[in-house]
Amino acid sequence: MKFDCIVVGGGVAGLTCALKCAEEGLRTAVVSSGMNALHFSSGSIDVLGFGGDKKIVYDPFDDLHEFIKEHPGHPYSKCGGVESIENAIRFFREKIRENGPDLFYNGRRNHFSVTALGTLKPTYLSQKSVFNEKLKEVFSRKPKIALLTFEGFRDFYPALAAANHKRTPMIRDCELVTGSVALPESVTTRKNPHEFRSIDICRLFDSERGIETIAGRIRDAAAGAEIVGIPAILGILHYDRIHHRLEELTGALIYEIPTLPPSILGMRLDNALKEKYAELGGLLIAGDEVAGGEFEGGRLASIRTRNYGSEEIKADCFVLATGSYFSRGITSKFDDMKETVFNFQLEYELPRNKWRRSGFFDPKSHPFLEYGVKTNDLLNPFTQSGTCVENVFCAGAILAHYNPVREGSGSGVAISAAVAAASRIASHCRRG
């Protein structure tokens, strides 16, 4: 099999890159092993949330100019400039909207989204059921807020979220009530209460059965609150309609709060990306694993996978977007770490006691989070013998020199590097 571009990894970075490649008219395939980290994400897109000393960033694109100067090795400095990063984020928002949720953005500024623990976090794009213009306006009036969960659901605790809300200057002065809503018995027949997860309630909402009853119970539990926060379970298919319907029936503004995995908010983005990609004729090889590659004259010529055995899959260009430790893009052993697929050079330190700081919540975070594949300014990786592989581009969490947690930059880096890589691949393929 022969492609223009093969993307190894099917997460935000891989899918965005593949989507862009397919849109450029390239024959593209994605090889993915297991579902991606969107299933574990907040479903919001961060570009840059925190500067040095954990200072909150309000205008990410303005701050990026300075940030790039200060961090020359950072992936953001390899994406073709701040304007390209802004365009990449816009590209992502527009593509998501075609098959998925409309994403709220606050002009060029960040806004705050609520976490599963009830803290606030600066972010750039959020789904409109999470934050929107109306909520922004009502929040500024210090309204009464209700935080509610559903009986039997174990992955969101309103009292905990409320306690954290109370510590947040923006919400501190609001009146807060908490409560829980029983789902109609007719629609909850799960045998095992331990299996009652976000997806189960989500399916119930998607079936749109009993919405009136649920809305009535939400209204009662909210006790006159203007705004009601509930765990993010309002469906994977009909979330827009269900969100509006609930607001209509309860007379309150409703916002979704990310839950523990599986993340319904993240899955909406995943579906939207995959559907758009398929529409553009992109191919997805799921549930497989790349077993290695054949290098010829300093270029990657083909890959082999576990399922295809000796059958080679050839391409002009490749993208490595396999993620970090969690997605098994990097494997760490007791005394070493490795890039899993091609054994490309990593930027990291030895011995292992340098990988972490002693405090779990150390404000400087942990060095291991910044380890990743070494790349040149065009995002090309290096083999162990030091050869730069010019037809391979890296994107997303596999990249070195950034700390997605401390900077609040994970999805922004994934999208920007993905789009930058796709543009470079497109011109590479056009050159022939």
């Binding site: 027949t189 045998k191 599986p262 559907e275 549930g287």
Partner: protein, 402 residues
């Protein structure tokens, strides 16, 4: 002592992603989903088999959980093994009849018209439901008189004249239910300059696995691999199959679930579209006539599991005039013998509902799918004729007419 050989369940991080993508858990609230039925309760079962949960029977072994798992846990394998290993070994006549496709085929083809008539009678259907727990709502696949192998016997000398040959693992379906597909495969390959050889074969074992008869499946697997090894060693030919589930078993279920080593011939066994798309890539691409049809393409679960969908799409993309509408990745529900069982029939139809709707929305002239049981399910549940991709290619090559 706990056997530590297969502890892939230990890699489970309890993320529940498998349960999201489980078609059965989506429609059946009684099934707790692959996470709980697989890795979660396997921990308990290895300590005490009495903790077996009877809900395991709802798993249809579609393998979608394994495609979804980010931690590479062989969830469906754990469940199939547990079904056999821990459940009481009671002989169930229904499961025996459903899973012994070659035996049933041999018996039925000798009196096909009578058998087809009888299985189509509502009285028979009611009786099968009452006594055998086979759903009376399920339409039975028709048997053909005689076997594909007998037809091939008359072609043998002609086939041997080709200098390039491939071994065709036809499977039970072609041998007993759909000779036309087998004949079309022979004519298609002949047109491309390739002769067809048959070798001794038994049922691939997929229905045996699904009905918790792992020893039976293993016996067939050993037989098939030995037969393939002998033939490949002698002729160096590739082995092709037109059934996505047979191919999946020969290549992946044998070493993965049944622990039968197939490494000597793994790279020689191909799903037919993989073989042909490579033949086309090597060139020259034969002259193809336009097939002016809009076709909805449904990818079978087992073909997805082994990454074969792109080969079929690649092959079909060569055919001028053919417009493919790709159906969203979804299980059709039948999962082989699963949808025949009384307790699973409604689940199977609920699982497939989304696919049937999408097919209807596409308003195709025809539906294409690689799997015979998906074909039964789609033809029973929608008004559309459903064919194997090879039939379309054959039409384009001028060796078959609709």
């Amino acid at each position: 002592m706990i056997n530590l050989e297969n502890i892939s369940f230990d890699h489970c991080i309890k993320c529940t992603v498998c349960t999201i993508y489980c078609p059965v858990a989506r429609v059946n609230p009684i099934y707790p989903g692959p996470k709980q039925s697989g890795p979660d309760t396997e921990r308990l079962r290895i300590k005490n088999p009495d903790l077996l949960d009877e809900s395991l029977k709802y798993c249809s072994n579609c393998k979608r959980c394994e495609i979804a798992c980010p931690s590479d846990v062989r969830i469906a394998d754990i469940i199939q093994t547990a079904k056999w290993k821990y459940s009481p070994k009671r002989f169930k006549i229904r499961d025996f009849l459903l899973s012994h496709t070659d035996l049933m085929g041999t018996l039925s083809t000798s009196a096909a018209p009578v058998v087809n008539r009888i299985t189509g009678l509502s009285l028979t259907k009611s009786a099968m439901e009452a006594f055998l727990n086979i759903s009376s709502k399920r339409r039975f696949p028709a048997y053909e008189p005689g076997t594909f192998r007998r037809w091939y016997g008359r072609m043998k000398s002609e086939q041997e004249a080709f200098s390039e040959k491939v071994i065709y693992y036809h499977g039970c379906y072609v041998n007993y239910n759909d000779h036309e597909l087998g004949k079309t495969v022979v004519r298609t390959l002949n047109k491309l300059g390739v002769g067809v050889t048959l070798i001794p074969e038994k049922c691939c074992g997929v229905p045996l696995i699904a009905n918790a008869d792992l020893p039976g499946a293993r016996k067939n697997a050993r037989y098939n691999i030995q037969s393939i090894e002998t033939a490949v060693e002698k002729t160096h030919c590739s082995v092709v199959s037109t059934s996505s589930s047979c191919t999946f078993a020969l290549k992946h279920e044998y070493p993965g679930l049944l622990e039968i080593d197939n490494s000597a011939v793994f790279n020689k066994i191909h799903y037919i579209t993989a073989y042909l798309s490579r033949l086309f890539a090597q060139g020259p691409v034969p002259e193809l006539q336009p097939v002016n049809l809009t076709a909805a393409y449904h990818a079978p679960c087992h073909l997805e599991r082994m990454g074969g969908v792109i080969h079929t799409l690649d092959l079909l993309s060569n055919i001028p005039g053919l417009k493919i509408v790709l159906m969203h990745s979804e299980c059709c529900g039948i999962s082989g013998t699963y949808g025949f069982k009384k307790e699973c029939y409604d689940i199977a139809q609920d699982v497939g509902e989304e696919l049937f709707k999408r097919i209807a929305d596409a308003a195709p002239d025809i539906v294409i799918t690689d799997c015979e049981t998906c074909k039964w399910q789609i033809e029973m549940s929608t008004p559309f004729r459903t064919v194997h991709p090879i039939m379309i290619l054959a039409q384009s090559l001028g060796v078959y007419t609709f």
